[in-house]
Amino acid sequence: MVHEWALAEAIILYIENQGVKRGRKLVVKTGALQSIDEEVLEFALRELIKERGLEISEIEIIEEEPLLKCRTCGYEWRVDPSSMSQDVRESIHFLPESIYAYYRCPRCGSIDFEIVRGRGISEIRVEDRD
């Protein structure tokens, strides 16, 4: 699972696009549905920070637990990617919307549900120096 590199590049492009060149800490909130390998993501971020000449010393990755909500009956439920089969987990890792091919509302059976949170990268923040 090394598409973390592509996500890291997107994060760095985003920071640069915001005009940020330095800061104390980079905080990234990821969604657990994507089963991001935090070590790989952090490694890629550090490499890219160095390569692009940015000055950011700390990296914090926060994982957000997924929450799904049925649009038909309103039921909310959580899913644990670690309990998924390898194939399904890997598909959702690359493309979280793949979940619609494998899941339905556990209460009413509807396929019309939404990912309320925990889908993918939901926040990128560079905290200033103290």
């Binding site: 090394v2 598409h3 590049e9 800061g23 396929i111």
Partner: protein
């Protein structure tokens, strides 16, 4: 700095699509006009001319390019290398479809979800080394189209596929209007299941007419086999269209 995220994937998508020399967005105002068949055959024609070519199926709800290519979703595997490298169909034809993740199970995506899937795919798939990229899209104009048309304006060239049906004419007009209003001056046009009757229309609307393909009843029998498709009459028409495309787009 504290910012609620816009979407970092858009920036990465733009970067990924800087790699191919030409990126064609194949669109239609209505379904059933042969857009998917034409996207697929154009990508094959381009690759057989010796150009490294990509085919990207962005019809998430009804992906079907793999059916034309005769590929079982289970054999379509991608290489992970600083992102995802598309599947090599043959020699220099590279391919990405969502079915390798969904295993062709039905998925119903609302607009926002389709947009999310779109940006995720465009951000992670690397088209390095690909010269011509053909993007097959769902019929009509939905969120995925608008996302691409607005955000990737400088990178994509739209190709409209249309049939000469009178019912479709007004729908083509609307599609052309939307493209013009979005800022596209150069719009390519292919007439399918016709005889050239849409050429005056295309000229009147300042569209770059690439040619026509007549209705060919035998085509259906060759869907699913690249080898058979190459021997079909349709492919000679597609090759002529491809030639026109190359001469118009430098």
């Amino acid at each position: 700095m504290k910012t609620v995220i816009e979407d970092p994937r858009v920036l990465k998508a733009i970067k990924n699509l800087e790699s191919p020399r030409s990126v064609y967005l194949v669109v239609s105002s209505k379904g059933g006009v042969g857009k998917t068949t034409i996207s697929t055959l154009l990508s094959i024609a381009s690759s057989l001319e010796g150009h490294s070519t990509g085919l990207l199926d962005l019809d998430f709800v009804n992906p079907s390019t793999h059916i034309i290519l005769g590929l079982d979703p289970r054999v379509i595997k991608y290489i992970e290398e600083k992102g995802v490298k598309p599947y090599r169909v043959f020699d220099n034809l590279y391919y990405f479809t969502i079915v390798s993740y969904t295993m062709d199970n039905p998925i119903a995506l609302r607009g926002g979800e389709a947009s999310n899937a779109l940006w995720e795919v465009l951000a992670i798939i690397r088209w390095n080394g690909v010269e011509n990229l053909y993007i097959d899209t769902p019929p009509g104009i939905g969120d995925e189209h608008l996302d691409i048309l607005y955000r990737l304006r400088r990178r994509v060239k739209p190709i409209i596929v249309a049939t000469p049906s009178k019912l479709a004419r007004r729908a083509i007009d609307r599609l052309v209007d939307i493209l013009r209003e979005t800022g596209y001056e150069e719009i390519l046009f292919i007439e399918n299941m016709g005889s050239g009757v849409l050429r005056p229309y295309a000229e009147e609307r300042r569209l770059l007419y690439l040619g026509f393909i007549p209705y060919l009843s035998r085509l259906e029998e060759s869907i699913g086999s690249i080898e058979k498709l190459l021997n079909e009459e349709v492919f000679s028409y597609v090759k002529a269209i491809y030639k026109n495309l190359r001469s118009l787009i430098r």
